[in-house]
């Protein structure tokens, strides 16, 4: 519909919220580009909803600014901000039917009836609710209510659409279907989505960029691949996917994890010898066979084996107190009795660039 304009749809400048002495959002700086699908990912209670509420105008920041489309709206009331919200609880108007729920915002803008009817019709087609126009929200299923909430916000073509865990209340199967659908709707309408979730899979699979939030601050911001492959903090590495985290001491291009195990970390330049750091290696980046010459190898002992259908997960002890999780694909050529068992001596290896230093 509206072509994506260049520039930032939303910018936060030192945005802070304090509730009774507790800093819930701490000097947040963030730029969301126009037309982008941007996710705020973080555990429950990290301040995601509070951040969205300040952007929408329901909550006054303790300090800092909110810019929408480059314009400072920090003291603009919600009804005059070019922002719409899909609430976590959907917050539908139960006394109005689907058609009037969706047309609510346009009616407030004083748009004439003919155009409202046409746009409501189009929007309901888009979210596949064309046959439920006259129904009350109470007559709809959870997934349908979710679509009404989405349509009701989207129809106003805001500069940015805020979505607060919109899929959290749906069951797993429906959630996966809606993830794909939401993403395709976003591409079709070209509106900036600021999407809040605590589900890392959801954030990784849907977003153009992800910001990982923890304790009111953004720990890391980047493309899904970037934040997954190159986590920059212990929290980010642990929150997205699983990671083998090993504390150690940095010394001339390696991290000494134990006296026997020194992990090479080529390309890492920001530490000096003697720094206390952590090394993270993803379980699926560790191999137990088919080694290449470039790989770092070390011997270990299988502690346990667990079968997960498509994968097998091993716990491998590689020295006193160091147990690594290794995830191996169950390839077609592998037989059940090819799997390692507890007590087996094995060799494990990984490419040096997959060992990421965290500070």
């Amino acid at each position: 519909m509206t072509p994506p304009t260049t520039g930032h749809a939303v910018s936060l400048r030192g945005l802070t919220k304090v509730f009774g002495g507790q800093t819930v959002v701490d000097a947040l700086d963030l730029d969301v580009d126009s037309g982008e699908f941007f996710s705020l990912l973080g555990p429950s209670g990290c301040g995601k909803t509070t951040t969205l509420r300040m952007i929408a105008g329901f909550s006054d920041p303790t300090a800092g600014q909110v810019l929408v489309g480059g314009e400072d709206v920090t003291s603009t009331p919600p009804h005059r901000r070019d922002v719409n919200t899909v609430f976590q609880s959907y917050a539908l108007f139960e006394h109005l039917d689907v058609r009037r729920n969706v047309g609510f915002g346009l009616r407030r803008k004083g748009i004439d009836k003919g155009e409202i009817d046409q746009r409501v019709g189009e929007m309901l087609e888009l979210v596949e609710l064309g046959d439920r126009v006259r129904d009350r929200p109470a007559q709809l299923s959870g997934g349908q209510r979710q679509r009404v909430a989405l349509a009701r916000a989207l129809i106003n073509r805001p500069k940015v659409l805020l979505l607060d865990e919109p899929l959290a209340a749906l069951d797993l199967k429906l959630r996966h279907a809606m993830q794909a659908e939401l993403k395709s709707i976003q591409r079709e309408v070209g509106i900036t989505f600021l999407f809040v979730t605590h589900d890392q899979d959801e954030a990784l699979s849907m977003s153009d960029r992800v910001a990982i939030m923890n304790g009111g601050v953004i720990e890391q911001c980047g493309t899904p691949e970037d934040v997954y492959e190159n986590p920059t903090s212990v929290f980010a590495a642990g929150f997205i996917g699983t990671s083998n985290l090993m504390p150690g001491v940095y010394a001339s291009g390696t991290v000494a994890v134990t006296s026997d195990l020194r992990i090479p970390v080529p390309g890492h330049t920001t530490s000096v010898d003697g720094d206390q750091v952590s090394v993270a290696i993803r379980p699926e980046k560790i191999w137990m066979s088919d080694f290449t010459p470039a790989m770092v190898q070390t011997p270990g002992t299988i502690v346990s084996t667990s079968y997960h259908g498509a994968t097998t997960q091993y716990l491998v002890s590689v020295g006193t107190g160091i147990t690594l999780t290794v995830l191996e694909q169950n390839l077609p050529r592998m037989r059940a009795d090819d799997r390692w068992n507890a007590g087996d001596r094995v060799e494990i290896g990984w490419l040096p660039e997959h060992a990421v230093v965290l500070r």
């Binding site: 105008g57 009804h79 919200t85 609430f87 139960e94 006394h95």
Partner: protein, 278 residues
């Protein structure tokens, strides 16, 4: 068949007690209704069916004047306590503070205060303030008394109404006033109607407060009935009583039924929220 069997199995004692209880409750009322159709003046022997006492009533200018007065009192009290009680409910529900909780408790006080105490107190205040007793003092007292009912009912509904829905309205372009008018009040309509009907019914046949706070003329209907009984009970009073009973019962049943009606067939809401309709 199955149902009849179930009934049979009920212990006899429970059935007897229940029947006696309802008899105790309703036999006097039934007697009043019955004798209002008696064709003789007697209040002990029913000699034949007639509607003469109803005709009597509708020709008794004094009683009719009292009926009009009572209807007016009930209507104005219902509207007045609806406005004030709703405002109070919003205040208590939306401004949460320690003081608010105390005020909330005080609000309920009229519900447990003996009405006669409220009546005497109202009389003392009105005469102390030099007010001339009349319909307006009755209305004032009745409103004071009924605000609590409205507040309790409306507040209950308001408490279960998510704030996020109001925020959604503001998100979609409503000023706070518009979101109140277009979203919050429509959600409260069943509670408003129910409490309005309830107050109307309670005030319409209220005797105690009216007795203490009314002037000489016109007297509210219950007070008029009371004073005329002192000169001997006329079957016309039975007719009036039966009519009042009917009106109150209908209103209370309506007040109890309406919220349920709104839930099951929410389309009837359209009649009331026509504002949002085009």
């Amino acid at each position: 068949m199955a149902r009849a069997k179930k009934l049979e199995r009920k212990p006899l004692v429970a059935v007897v007690v229940t029947v006696l209880f309802f008899a105790w409750l309703y036999v006097p009322i039934f007697a009043v209704a019955l004798f209002s159709f008696n064709d003789k003046k007697s209040l002990s022997a029913f000699s034949g069916f007639s509607t003469r006492w109803y005709v009597d009533f509708f020709h008794n200018e004094a009683l009719l004047e009292s009926l009009r007065a009572s209807l007016l009192i009930a209507l104005v009290s219902a509207v007045g306590s609806l406005v004030l009680g709703t405002m109070l409910a919003f205040g208590l529900e939306r401004v949460r503070s320690r003081r608010g909780r105390v005020v909330g408790a005080i609000t309920l006080l009229p519900l447990v205060t003996p009405e006669i105490v409220t009546g005497v107190a109202a009389l003392l205040v009105f005469t102390g303030a030099g007010l001339k007793l009349g319909l307006d003092t009755v209305i004032l007292a009745e409103i004071t008394f009924s605000i609590a009912y409205v507040t309790v009912i409306v507040r209950g509904r308001l408490a279960s109404f998510p704030l996020e829905v109001e925020e959604a309205a503001r998100d979609l372009g409503c000023t706070p006033w518009q979101s109140l008018r277009l979203v919050t009040l429509p959600a409260l309509v069943p509670a408003l109607i129910a409490s309005g009907l309830l107050v109307f019914a309670l005030v319409f046949d209220d005797f105690v407060l009216a007795f203490f706070t009314t002037g000489v003329d016109p007297q509210p209907l219950p007070v008029r009935i009371y004073s005329s009984i002192r000169f001997g009970v006329s079957p016309a009073i039975n007719a009036v009583g039966t009519l009042m009973l009917l009106v109150s019962a209908l209103l209370i049943v309506a007040a109890l039924m309406l919220p349920r009606l709104f839930k099951s067939r929410s389309s009837s809401l359209d009649l009331i929220t026509g504002g949002e309709r085009r």
